[in-house]
């Protein structure tokens, strides 16, 4: 490999590629950094008050901030729990016992990427409305009302599980590839371990980094999700930002900057987990 990189630098020493790279990098840096800088300046500077960080301070006391953020975090936690509980046993079962189901799983876990979320919401809201009418005379009516409770809309958790399934599937699939699942599971079973024991004490510890990255990606998606929540009429974090933007522009831009930082932190967590795994 050292020889290859040596050759590369030799061919790269003429000054033309360097000029060419500058022509690419400078406008790119301007395009990506100016909105970042301008937004930050917008949040800390007002002609009337000069420079102050008050927009960030007001955040904590802003009406609805804590409530919507807690709702989003709760939805995120519930989505992570449900999507892992559903997908991990399914992927193990397909790997160990039913390889013929694999194409089915692949298609299922690609569909939510192909179908635009807004069309999913259109179908979902229609189903909920029709479902409420049809189920009115049956005991299930209470259930369908309960899942739509604005305090904790379970229906959003169900929708988010579908939306994050492709990312979770890919993450877990990559994790399962790195270990010999069959040998591990058969060894544990032969030694008398029960299925729950195999799942939680044998498979899960070996999949820690894949599970962590799946969870972080899910959290990032749920915290930023707007389309489904707003069209079904709920107000988690991303919807709250829009609501507050009408009256307090500075605050909404401040939240946007914080959400960019949050995405960065979550992705950093994913890559840290993976690089630690690699070093082991």
């Amino acid at each position: 490999m050292a020889a290859l990189t040596g050759l590369e630098t030799v061919s790269g020493t003429d000054s033309r590629p360097r000029v060419w790279r500058g022509i690419v990098f400078l406008p790119a840096a301007a395009y990506f950094l100016i909105p970042l800088g301008a937004s930050f300046w917008y949040t800390i500077h007002t002609p009337a008050r000069g420079v102050s960080l008050s927009a960030y301070g007001e955040l904590l006391t802003a009406e609805g901030f804590v409530r919507s953020l807690l709702l989003s975090l709760g939805l995120g936690a519930a989505t992570i729990a449900l999507v892992l509980l559903l997908s991990l046993p399914a992927m193990l079962a397909v790997r160990l016992f039913a390889p013929r189901l694999r194409p089915v799983m692949e298609v299922l876990c690609t569909l939510p990427l192909v179908v635009p979320p807004i069309t999913f919401v259109a179908g979902l809201s229609t189903s909920l409305r029709v479902g409420t009418d049809v189920l009115a005379p049956t005991p299930f009516w209470a259930t369908i009302i309960a899942v739509q409770d604005p305090g904790f809309p379970v229906v959003l958790v169900l929708a988010y599980v579908v939306l994050v399934l492709p990312f979770v599937y890919r993450s877990l699939d990559a994790g399962l590839r790195t270990m010999d699942v069959r040998t591990l599971v058969e060894a544990a079973r032969n030694l008398g371990a029960s299925w729950p024991y195999v799942l939680f004490r044998v498979v899960v510890p070996n999949l820690r980094s894949a599970l962590a990255s799946a969870s972080f990606l899910t959290l990032a998606l749920v915290l930023g999700e707007y389309t489904v929540a707003s069209l079904l009429g709920y107000e988690p974090f991303a919807v709250w930002i829009v609501t507050v933007s009408g009256s307090r522009g500075q605050l909404s831009v401040a939240v946007s900057i914080l959400s960019l930082l949050l995405i960065w932190l979550l992705l950093l967590a994913v890559s840290t987990v993976f690089s630690r795994e690699k070093r082991k």
């Binding site: 300046w41 299922l108 259109a122 229609t126 579908v162 079973r189 939240v255």
Partner: protein, 274 residues
């Protein structure tokens, strides 16, 4: 083991049942609703969804997504090549990390970034004397969508460009090929599947974007996602909802056609680059 082997697939049952219910029921609702008008089977919704303002919105969405996909693909590939051939490991790491973050930075916050920058009371629009409302146009949206599309393309292209072996370039040079020949006859054919895959990915993400457009342009630029949302939430009159479902079906067909191009290409990408 044999007993559990025969029943082992049951582990997949909860996920399959969940998916069939939570994804299947809305899917049936879309198709059934799209073909129903006033409680009877009909093509009225679908034909209405392909006329007038709805058709304009659909064409607007397709045009916007196509422009963003092509521009994003070209610019993203150039940026990826500049990063891949850069000798500074720090620069490379920084650009790739930033691309990961920005490719995931969409939705409402993205709209607010640009509103604060080039909106009517934005910082830069004041400095350069941008006419009011310039951001809230077709090309304004293109500019905003490129903010996540270019990084997405960088993420797609960087591994592919890394896979181009220096030997290929040397072999081409030894046979008397110029730089242009090398790119035209060696590198681009190898990169083509990855690039087309990237174009499809970019098209799909712009096509289904709703939050950014809704926060930015409202209804100034006609887009199909905005029309669906308006039909879903605006009037609760019966019939409007079925128009939303017909529009949704149109959208799924377009997205499905585009994806049908992508999947076979994705398999071909892995043939040369490893």
């Amino acid at each position: 083991m044999s007993r559990s082997r025969s029943r082992g697939w049951l582990g997949a049952l909860p996920l399959l049942a969940f998916f069939a219910f939570v994804f299947g029921v809305p899917a049936i609702a879309v198709v059934a609703g799209a073909f129903t008008a006033q409680g009877r089977p009909s093509l009225a919704n679908l034909s209405q969804s392909l006329q007038g303002g709805y058709l304009t919105a659909m064409l607007g969405s397709v045009k916007l997504s196509a422009v963003v996909a092509l521009l994003g693909a070209v610019l993203g590939t150039f940026l990826a090549q500049a990063v891949v051939t850069s000798r500074s490991a720090l620069l490379r790491e920084a650009v790739l990390t930033a691309s990961g973050v920005l490719a995931n930075f969409g939705g409402v916050p993205l709209a607010f970034f640009w509103i604060a920058t080039l909106g009517n009371s934005g910082l830069i629009s004041g400095l350069i004397g941008l006419p009011s409302g310039s951001l809230y146009t077709f090309w304004g949206l293109v500019m905003v969508y490129l903010y996540f599309s270019i990084p997405l393309m960088v993420l797609v292209m960087a591994p592919a460009l890394d896979g181009l072996r220096p030997q290929w370039r040397e072999a081409a040079a030894d046979n008397g090929a110029t730089t242009w020949h090398y790119w035209r006859f060696v590198a681009l054919p190898v990169l083509a599947p990855a690039m087309l895959g990237g174009v499809v990915l970019l098209f799909g993400s712009s096509f289904s974007a709703y939050a950014t457009a809704n926060a930015m342009v409202g209804t100034v630029v006609p887009l199909i996602t905005l029309k669906i949302a308006a039909a879903l939430t605006g009037d609760v009159l019966t019939g409007y909802e079925n128009i939303a479902l017909a529009l949704s079906l149109d959208m799924i067909v377009v997205a499905g056609l585009v994806m049908a191009i992508y999947l076979p290409l994705q398999r071909r990408t892995s043939r040369w680059l490893h």
